[in-house]
Amino acid sequence: MTLAFVALRNLGRNRRRTLLSLLVAACGAAALVLTAGFVRFSFEGLRDAIVRGGLGHLEVGPADDFEGAASPLERLARPPLLGGWEALRKEIEARPHVQAAGASIQFAGMASHRDRSAAFFAVAVEPDRERRMGMEVKLRGGEGLSEEPPAEGEDQVLLGKGLARALGVVPGDRIALVTSTVEGSLDAMDVTVRGLLTSGLQELDARLLKTHVVTAQRLLGTANVSSLVVGLDDTDRTAAAQADLLPLLGSSTTPLAAVDWETRAPFYRQVRSLYAGIFAFLGGVVFFLVVLSTSNTLLMSVLERVREFGTLRAIGTSRGQVATLVVLEALWLGLLGGLSGAVLGLGLATLINHLGIRMPPPPGAADPLDLFLRVVPSDLAAALLFMVVVLGVASLVPALRVIRLRIAEALAHD
């Protein structure tokens, strides 16, 4: 015999009404589970697009380079300053969970073809290491860069679609690149357009150029690189990998830093905040809907049992105990409704995931993704807990009503 036991029994008093309340709670919980799954899917899609789109998990370079300039575009004006990078790369690639560490150079210049010229922002990479890191090159024509470093005179580039259009070139054409060397002088080089690519952002495609690190080094007149982009086998290991590299970076003569992808993609954090806000808003809506519909039901249930509450008070049940009884009934509803909702949400998510629904690509990605709602145990538990809390809140007004009952009046109630 406990109040919780009595409360549970009381749910069977009016089965139709109890089922309705359970349904409301279950639907609320299921909605939260599905939304959480969708939000996780979106975050992971965006995260993957960012990491596999070229940012990698970590970027290792001179600490000064990252001061006050998080994104690669902001560092275009700085010459490549990372020397001795081959040895550093070897050490990094020997670390566990590191797929590869690819050299990277960022630079800017002018591209020209016949009488047309256009400014470009270039990223020079090692295509073989990009492939090992699972990085995608979103080609829109032609072919990707060859993995072998190009021989002198055989340099290749990939152009953003907008840049190619501005220059009036197609894959196979030759263009000239002009850029400032690290000496402060100028140099120019004929290169072959091997393919066209897209970044997912139209504005960037109008300036984007991608080439091999060796080509950039030739053009800039340096053996240095700007940084090493490190790819891991698991994004969740980023923080651990970053910490693991600290002793190695600390032992270098030039201060080096390893910066994680999230720091270098403030856009991701902005999107996360936006989604969190939307999700919180949805949670608020569900909260109010469930509270409004169930508190009315709970109140009706209390009003129908005024005499019974009077009797309980008469035979020695305290005010707090009868109020607790009312709250416990609501908490049982929340628990059972939340559990049902969690199961319902999980079932619906499984069904949806098998439907193969195509979603438009997240910002920064180019290819659509199959919708896959990521339902994790913590989200199920949270939805359940949320429903328990919501129903608890819904029971406050009925509980207060019961506390205020006068015994004699309650006993005389019909």
Binding site: M110, S112, S117, G153, R174, A176, V178, S180, T181, E183, G184, S185, L186, D187, A188, M189, D190, R218, G221
Partner: protein
């Protein structure tokens, strides 16, 4: 006639014996170079030097050969208003912005000296005292209304009209460049320092190692055929330079 009278009235503050046009003609450093010459210049910037060879034929033709070991084979070619980069790694010359600055520090015009007599007209002539003695300050306006540097000031020594300094301003009135003539030899500038006041990237010092007046072959300026350029021998003065 009206112009001469107006100018005479405007320049009442200067010595009545000095004609601004005459000061300009005599003090303009741009007029001191022959019409056609070959020169060897050494540019200093941030404790590093870069040698260049200049072939100049009249106003509209200038070829600059970069002589640093890493840069051999590269040329800057000015024809009329266009500036081109000729690189061994490109089949065709590549057009550059006319305001391109050599080694980030000085434009070709500044290195070679503008022809102020033809590009500018004097609007004011005053005297002032300087560490070099009595100086004449000649304010100039560009004849071309579209000029990037419409305002200038030429400072010359009063005694021999030797140029001390030239200052340039942008259309907005913002100071752009200062060229100081630090050393002279045989009546021509031997060393000058160019300061870029817009980018504030320090100064470039130009040493004129050698200047010989001579005819310049026209095929050096051929955009299509670079064989004459390729055939140029490497000057001894540059051999072994960084």
């Amino acid at each position: 006639m009206t112009r001469a009278v107006a100018l005479a009235l405007a320049f009442a503050s200067a010595s009545p014996a000095l004609d601004p046009w005459d000061v300009l003609r005599r003090g303009d450093p741009g007029r001191l170079s022959p019409d056609s010459f070959r020169a060897l210049l050494r540019l200093w910037r941030d404790d590093r030097s870069h040698d260049i060879e200049v072939w100049h034929a009249g106003r509209n033709r200038t070829l600059v050969r970069l002589l640093s070991a890493k840069e051999l084979g590269k040329f800057l070619l000015r024809r009329d208003a266009d500036l081109w980069l000729v690189s061994p790694r490109t089949r065709q010359p590549t057009r550059l912005p006319p305001a391109y600055r050599l080694y980030g520090g000085a434009s070709l015009d500044e290195v070679l000296g503008r022809l102020h007599f033809e590009d500018y007209e004097p609007v004011d002539l005053t005297e002032e005292k300087g560490p070099d003695g009595d100086l004449l300050s000649l304010r100039l306006h560009a004849r071309d209304p579209g000029s990037m540097l419409p305002r200038a000031r030429l400072l010359v020594r009063k005694g021999d009209f030797r140029a001390v300094k030239v200052e340039y301003w942008l259309r907005s009135g913002k100071p752009a460049t200062v060229v100081e003539f630090q050393a002279w030899e045989a009546g021509r500038p031997r060393r000058l320092a160019v300061r870029d006041l817009i980018r504030k990237e320090g100064s470039v010092t130009v040493d004129v190692l050698k200047l010989e007046e001579r005819p310049v072959p026209a095929d050096l300026f051929d955009l299509e055929d670079g064989s004459a350029r390729k055939a140029l021998p490497v000057p001894l003065a540059a051999a072994g330079s960084p």
